[in-house]
């Protein structure tokens, strides 16, 4: 039972190759992207990519806490994978923090127009938001949010590892996990909204949407589900995690299916009201996407995030098929990356944005970092939470009795 994760050669190689692609793309972008468009592209891609991966790690902690609070057992067999993703919060938080601070200190007004004194002097709408949108509050909130997420993820991981070393049958750790999970859920409920307003929504400083926090949460949660499925299948392919079977895969497939519908619901609720109201201040946000330069990506975003998982993952057999789930998870992950792209790019570069070598390169760098960090975290602990009281229940788990 005491099974250790051996990092497969493929994981290590993919991770190293992707990280080097990312570093190369970063260096090439740093020295090669000139002019107004180049600089805007350089910074906005760094901002949305670092935030995308930070939000995914935070969603992993949310999943861990929600499942612990519900005293669920379905995820225990691959709990270490969820843990391995959530302990990366500090790393991605540091990267995102450096990027955001560089944007503020470097006076990149095209990312956060509300930091520009000239905009504040002329634009009464943006100036009216200064009680919330000001650099001081932004930095304070960013520090509190990133610190809170990081510390709670490390605390929960620590409890989980203590349980492994303790005697079997000790229930103290279960209750401790539940306590800190409750703390995190309450903290996350507020911070997911506040952070998304500050970090992403304020890029379009004149515009606002009341659905934005939910929208970011839904997008990051479904990307997380795709990533967990991909990791579980990849680890199974390397001959480990053999106690995870189709029953567990079925659960992950159901989550991808259900949350792609949830995301579409949120997306549509946001779009629909702005479309119906048709107030220039609100609808200008969607103009470059619906009728402008980003029309193709905008429509592709809807198709691959709603139609593809909805139609292809609908049947029971599709959710229990490793190949189908892998393909859908890859498509959905790309789709939500594209969704984060569309949160930032059409506002910063209304007519010139591309999905080119730089965007792909930086993203591959983050993906490589994710693979490397998750493999490292997995190899640090037994692959199964050996002393968890629900482990047996999780192994004999059946997702349905059909």
């Amino acid at each position: 039972m005491e099974e250790r994760f051996v990092i497969p050669r493929r994981f290590r190689n993919t991770s190293l190759i992707f990280i080097s692609i990312g570093v190369l793309a970063f260096l090439a972008g740093l020295f090669g992207l000139h002019g107004d468009v180049g600089v805007k592209r350089f910074w906005s891609v760094l901002v949305f990519d670092s935030l995308f991966f930070l939000y995914i790690s935070a969603a992993s902690l949310f999943l861990y806490c929600a499942a612990s609070l519900a005293q669920a057992s379905w995820h225990i067999a691959y709990k270490r994978v969820i843990e391995a993703i959530m302990v990366n919060i500090p790393v991605f938080a540091i990267i995102a923090f450096i990027v955001l601070m560089a944007v503020l200190i470097g006076h990149k007004y095209f990312i956060y127009p509300w930091t520009d004194p000239q905009v504040l002097a002329h634009d009464t709408i943006v100036a009216g938001k200064t009680p919330f949108l000001n650099v001081k509050l932004f930095v304070i909130f960013t520090v509190i949010i990133m610190l809170g997420w990081s510390l709670l993820s490390l605390k929960l991981r620590q409890i989980s590892l203590q349980e492994d070393r303790a005697e079997r049958g000790v229930r103290r750790f279960l209750w401790k996990t539940i306590f800190f999970s409750a703390v995190f859920i309450a903290f996350y409920a507020v911070t997911i909204s506040v952070s998304s307003w500050h970090w992403l929504m304020s890029i379009a400083a004149r515009w606002y949407s009341t659905m934005y926090g939910w929208y970011v949460f839904a997008g990051s949660f479904i990307s997380l589900m795709a990533i967990i499925s991909l990791f579980v299948i990849a680890i199974k392919n390397s001959g480990q995690l053999s106690l995870v079977n189709k029953e567990h895969l079925h659960d992950l497939g159901k989550f991808i299916f259900a949350f792609s519908i949830f995301w579409t619901y949120i997306w549509f609720a946001q779009y629909f009201l702005l479309w119906y109201g048709n107030i220039p201040l609100e609808s200008q946000y969607f103009r470059p996407q619906l009728w402008g330069h980003y029309r193709f990506w905008f429509l592709l975003d809807l198709v691959i995030n709603f139609a593809v998982p909805f139609l292809l993952l609908m049947t029971r057999d599709a959710k229990r098929n490793y190949t189908t789930v892998t393909i859908i998870a890859l498509i959905v992950f790309f789709g939500h990356w594209l969704d984060f792209y569309l949160m930032v790019m059409p506002t910063v570069l209304p007519t010139q944005g591309v999905v080119g070598w730089y965007e792909i390169g930086i993203t591959l760098g983050f993906v490589g970092l994710m693979i490397g960090l998750v493999s490292r975290a997995l190899s640090r602990a037994p692959l199964y939470p050996v002393n968890h009281p629900y482990l047996k229940e999780a192994i004999i788990h059946k997702s349905d009795w059909g």
Binding site: F272, Y276, M314, W401, G402
Partner: protein, 197 residues
């Protein structure tokens, strides 16, 4: 519907029922149905029931709802009576989406529920033969159809050996029909032991 004969066995516990169902199928007897007071996990696998087609039916009803809503609204607002509503185009797809969604859910839910009732032969005013008066209370009842090849005494003995509490042969009409359980039916004369006096 055809009138058939059945060997009916009742069990005290699902722990005795489940192995008995498996053995009956291995023995090659024709299992008609099993009645339990509550859902028994793994029973459908033991009975060898195939996957239900209810999902497919639900999907088709949903697609019908989508088509009805979209085609209906398009015809009304584009062809039959174009109206200028708030300066929107005559085919404003986003404003059709909520109604399309609602009709999809409505068609799918109602259609699936009715199909479920039809597949399980339950509906207000529908009557079925009840093999054992306690099959919905605290007994687990298994009915084996008697074919011309069936050795009735052998089946009876086999069931008794495998934990059955009581075994009897019943004659009953197959399937379901309209009628009320308070009314006495003709075939009660065939099975006097369960007839309502």
């Amino acid at each position: 519907m055809a009138i058939k004969q059945y060997v009916v066995a009742s069990f005290r516990d699902e722990d005795q029922l489940l192995p008995a169902v498996k053995k009956v199928r291995m023995q090659g007897y024709k299992l008609y149905d099993v009645f339990t007071p509550f859902p028994v996990h793994g029973l459908d696998a033991a009975m060898g029931l195939r996957q239900t087609a209810l999902h497919t039916a639900g999907f088709i009803y949903g697609a019908l709802g989508t088509a009805t809503a979209l085609l209906g609204m398009s015809w009304i607002f584009v062809v039959s009576w174009p109206l200028d509503i708030g300066g929107k185009p005559h085919f404003p797809l986003p404003s059709f989406i909520p109604i399309t969604f609602e009709l999809t859910v409505l068609f799918s839910a109602v259609g699936t529920t009715l199909t479920f009732c039809w597949l399980n032969q339950i509906m207000p005013g529908v009557k079925k033969h009840i093999f054992h008066p306690r099959q919905s209370d605290d007994r687990f009842v298994m009915a084996i159809e008697i074919t011309p090849k069936t050795q009735v005494e052998e089946v009876k003995q086999f069931l008794l050996n495998n934990g059955a509490e009581e075994v009897q042969v019943q004659t009953a009409e197959e399937g379901w029909w309209y009628g009320l359980f308070s009314k006495r039916e003709k075939y009660d004369d065939i099975n006097p032991q369960w007839s309502v006096q």
